[in-house]
């Protein structure tokens, strides 16, 4: 939650993070339940990813979206988990994305492994990733309507059918 991360608290003590914040000034550093997180505006995501890659975060291990419908002013939050093997540490990048224009730059040019992850995020939440080479649905059928993991998408539970089996001949 937003209250957990207090900007600026960690920077300075941490060289990698300080370098990152120097490269992209709009980065806000914080902590969330013991993990390091940074908050970045959507327009700077690609720059942050590029800088992080240069600083030794080799892998984009996870990318997902959270739908804070009714909980926050900005509805979506793209969550990118970067992993550095050489520093043995993780970095979580949180990117608020408004409902009206759910578009963030694609990370595929920096981290090719973000390809499937971004397609999944698009499929499940309808977040568009500008510059993604193949932004199509990945888990749902191609002609599916809606984005199932949005909070306002119905779970789709069917009432349990309790009835006699049809008479066998």
């Amino acid at each position: 939650m937003s209250g957990d991360s207090s900007p600026g608290q960690v920077a300075g003590a941490d060289e990698v993070l300080a370098n990152l914040m120097e490269a992209v000034p709009s980065v806000e550093a914080g902590r969330s339940v013991g993990d390091r997180v940074i908050r970045v505006p959507a327009r700077d995501l690609a720059r942050v990813a590029g800088a992080a890659r240069a600083l030794g975060f080799e892998m984009c291990s996870d990318l997902t979206v959270v739908d804070y419908l009714g909980k926050r002013r900005v509805r979506f939050e793209v969550v990118v988990n970067l992993l550095s093997l050489q520093h043995n540490r993780r970095l979580r990048v949180l990117v608020p994305v408004p409902e009206g224009d759910p578009e963030v730059p694609s990370l595929v040019p920096v981290y090719p492994g973000a390809n499937f992850l971004e397609r999944e995020a698009y499929d499940m939440f309808g977040i568009r990733f500008a510059g993604h080479p193949d932004l199509t649905r990945i888990l749902m059928p191609d002609d599916w309507a809606g984005h199932p993991l949005r909070r306002d998408f119905d779970v789709g539970a069917v009432p349990v059918q309790v009835k006699d089996a049809p008479q066998v001949r």
């Binding site: 888990l139 059928p141 599916w144 199932p148 998408f153 779970v155 789709g156 539970a157 059918q161 066998v168």
Partner: protein, 156 residues
Amino acid sequence: MAHLTAPPQLLTTTLGKAMRWAQQQSMWPATFGLACCAIEMMATGTAHNDLARFGMEVFRASPRQADLMVVAGRVSQKMAPVLRQVYDQMADPKWVISMGACASTGGMFNNYALVQGVDQIVPVDVYVPGCPPGPQSLMHGILTLQDKVVSGELAR
């Protein structure tokens, strides 16, 4: 020429009985493993449980050569047309076993993604309960199917 001199060894039966007997003893399942149940289906086919005892171990990759479809696992909305197509490709006579809670009813996943019961797509002969059903359960399901075929209830 022994068979000319030996007394004639004959067995009389009805055509229906002979057909049912033949159908019962050599059912070849199609591999339609989908999820967790598929692993149990594989375990049923391998050394420890040895499905070969029932004459049904020849899992066929091609639906054209199979006459039993064991739907092992959850069927998603995306998979449903494929499943139906595979079923349509199987040659008659054919049977379907719905293996596990998910295939039979959707199981614990009552949501947008799953078909709530494979019996909305294909006609099911035997439902095997469990999540996942152990090899013994699947074997019981198969034996039930064989019994029903030989008794004529499900003979085709």
